[in-house]
């Protein structure tokens, strides 16, 4: 039989990479930029993470390096789209290809090597509580950090002045510019944040979820993250729901198969996509930021 507590615990682990990448992309898109390079930034994070974790012999160095690596790669995107005003869609796709290639190059000597892994936290009695103990007090620290990032993003966008400016830039960059805000600076910061989050998501894959480095290991996770941002209508809590739903149904269907339940496999296999889309669409889709994907130039 399937142990629900174990299942929920593993769904949180399965969802965290997508969640991290998606929350970063959400901020980027709320600032009016469409960065399709999530996959490339994730995989760069994955290799930076494992390389640094091996070098410093602690997973935390890995996560730090992954965030820096992802952010650096995204700054390349920022340079091209914000300063040189290249097309965002084409540049984003190029960033994905570049990231995949770069990571394969760096990763040549890291194939099939295990990095120091992240231990789950142990709060003694609390963690030993039946069912909820393992769920609430027995995850690895990155799961909590990812949830904190989601909450922080929500609060930032909703309550802070900087969040308001970021949203204004995303809704109408000409108006924000007329009000004296530095559109390019705001967007560059958002892009760097998105890159750092994608890098963290990638490192979570290579350090916790798989855990090892393999060429091309993100295998499309970045695209799922992009889709979840849209289906979550650019709202952090819905995005959390979407990511957990997707990860959850993925893990659930594998467990149902492993448990030998007589449900046709093809339905199980498509279920993560169907369920996530259905739930998020039924929750009444929102509107995309007004300036999403449009190139900004102060002279226009």
């Amino acid at each position: 039989m399937i142990d629900p507590a174990l299942l929920i615990a593993s769904l949180m682990v399965a969802s965290t990479p997508i969640l991290l990448a998606a929350i970063g992309e959400l901020v980027v898109e709320r600032s009016g930029v469409l960065n399709l390079g999530v996959e490339g930034m994730m995989i760069t994070g994955a290799i930076c993470g494992i390389a640094a974790a091996l070098w410093a012999e602690t997973p935390w160095a890995g996560f730090l390096a992954a965030a820096v690596g992802g952010a650096l790669l995204s700054l390349l995107f920022a340079l091209l789209t914000q300063v040189l005003m290249s097309n965002q869609v084409a540049t984003g796709l190029a960033l994905t290809l570049f990231g995949l290639g770069l990571s394969a190059l760096i990763g040549q000597s890291y194939s099939q090597i295990r990095a120091p892994s992240l231990q789950r936290i142990d709060l003694g009695a609390l963690t030993d509580l039946p069912v909820v103990g393992r769920l609430l007090f027995g995850q690895d620290p990155m799961v909590y950090i990812s949830l904190l990032i989601v909450a922080g993003t929500w609060a930032f966008l909703r309550f802070s002045r900087a969040g308001l400016i970021l949203r204004a830039v995303g809704e109408n960059h000409d108006a924000a510019h007329a009000l004296g805000y530095n559109v390019r600076l705001v967007r560059t910061c958002a892009i760097a944040f998105g890159g750092a989050c994608a890098g963290l998501g990638g490192a979570y894959l290579s350090l916790v979820r798989v855990p090892q480095w393999t060429d091309g290991m993100t295998a499309g996770a970045g695209w799922i993250a992009l889709a979840i941002v849209v289906f979550a209508s650019w709202r952090p809590w819905r995005l959390l729901l979407g990511a957990y739903l997707f990860g959850g149904v993925t893990v659930l269907q594998l467990n149902l198969q492993a448990g030998g339940f007589a449900i046709p496999v093809q339905y199980l296999s498509m279920s993560p996509y169907i369920v996530t889309i259905l739930v998020l669409v039924v929750m009444n889709a929102g509107r995309a930021p007004g300036s999403l994907g449009r190139t900004f130039h102060a002279s226009h």
Partner: protein
């Protein structure tokens, strides 16, 4: 005089150089995963490198990694053919229809499709009898499992994968009547995160041996993390995970075949053929059985390997029934290749259905 000689010599040298460079045979490879997957594609690429080394300047190779099965493969193959490839190896089952489609457009280019069954005048097929290796896996797995639950990560429900499951099952049950198979279909050849998750789900369900038919080493990593779980290298030796969790492996050795076929193109003797070789001719290798396996199990596994290699034993030898109990092979009867190539049924004792 000397100048004349010099010039003549130079002209001759140029002439021979031109002749040597005249027409290096270009060989293309289409890969389903990255060459660093540590499994299936990794082995195909090793064979490509062996071709380069064997022929030197006479052959040029090109390859494309992570080509999705489906329409995109047409684009990649067409591009290779347009760029002058003389021979193209398409190394995944899902390229079958695309290979035939592109081959029709380029009748002068030779194609070699791995693991498929559709041929044309300029399309050969080749595959390895992986099920022979699966028999040995099953033989070992059935004896080392303590929980009597063996997990199996299937990619797609195609005959090649079903054949492997049947072969492993028959030989696991032969040595352990209480054994049970849990099969998970992941519908991908390469997705490390999903493969690891599938392995974890199976381990959570009590499996202590994980057999995989996917291309990355992620299930090995997941098993290593869980501890006390046995795995087998798939397509490649995956020796990094020995002696535990990886206790043995099935190794695909494509190099001799690739060299042979490239030579045939150079000689102009290439013909559309269907090759299906196993342990005997060396296309399937069995990786070292580690010390984690008891000595007597290792000995009997190696004896089985020798019997299969010599043709003395066939893994699908009757009496065998289909899953629904209807007879398939009578006592001593050996399965014919046609049935094996199109295998779309489980043998008796396996639970669950093959997704249609």
């Amino acid at each position: 005089m000397t100048l004349k000689h010099l010039l003549a010599g130079a002209a001759m040298a140029l002439g021979t150089m031109a002749a040597a460079q005249d027409d290096p045979v270009t060989v293309g490879f289409v890969y389903v995963g990255p060459i660093g997957d540590g499994g299936w594609t990794y082995e195909h690429d090793r064979a490509r490198l062996a071709v380069e080394e064997h022929f030197g300047d006479a052959v040029e190779t090109v390859y494309q990694e992570s080509v999705p099965e489906g329409p995109d493969a047409v684009r990649v193959m067409t591009q290779m053919a347009l760029n002058g490839a003389d021979l193209i190896f398409t190394t995944s089952f899902g390229y079958m229809d695309q290979t035939i489609e592109v081959a029709e457009q380029f009748p002068d280019v030779k194609f070699e499709h791995a693991t498929g069954y559709k041929r044309a005048d300029n399309v050969s097929t080749y595959s390895a009898r992986f099920y022979e290796g699966r028999a040995i896996q099953g033989h070992i797995a059935g004896q080392i499992t303590e929980s009597n639950i063996i997990g199996y990560i299937g990619s797609y429900p195609i005959p090649e994968v079903v054949r492997g499951i049947n072969s492993a099952w028959i030989h696991a049950r032969e040595v352990n009547p209480d054994v049970e198979f849990r099969i998970v279909w992941v519908y991908t050849w390469f997705d490390p995160a999903k493969e690891a998750e599938a392995a974890r789900a199976l381990i959570d369900q009590g499996a202590d041996v994980i057999l995989q038919h996917t291309d990355s080493t992620a299930p090995q990593a997941a098993a290593a993390e869980a501890g006390g779980v046995y795995t087998f290298g798939q397509a490649s030796d995956m020796a990094e995970f020995a002696p535990m969790p990886r206790v043995s492996s099935i190794i695909d050795d494509w190099a001799p075949y690739y060299i042979d076929r490239v030579q045939a193109v150079i000689d102009g003797t290439w013909e559309s053929t269907d090759t299906w070789d196993g342990i005997g001719p060396g296309m399937v290798g069995i990786g070292e059985i580690t010390d984690a396996v008891p000595e007597e199990v290792r000995t009997s596994a190696l004896a089985m390997k020798d019997a299969i290699a010599s043709g003395e034993y066939h893994p699908f030898t009757g009496p065998l029934n289909r899953q629904d109990g209807t007879p398939w092979l009578a006592e001593g009867e050996i399965a014919d290749d046609g049935t094996l190539l199109g295998m779309d049924f489980y043998v008796e004792g396996l639970t669950g259905d093959i997704p249609q």
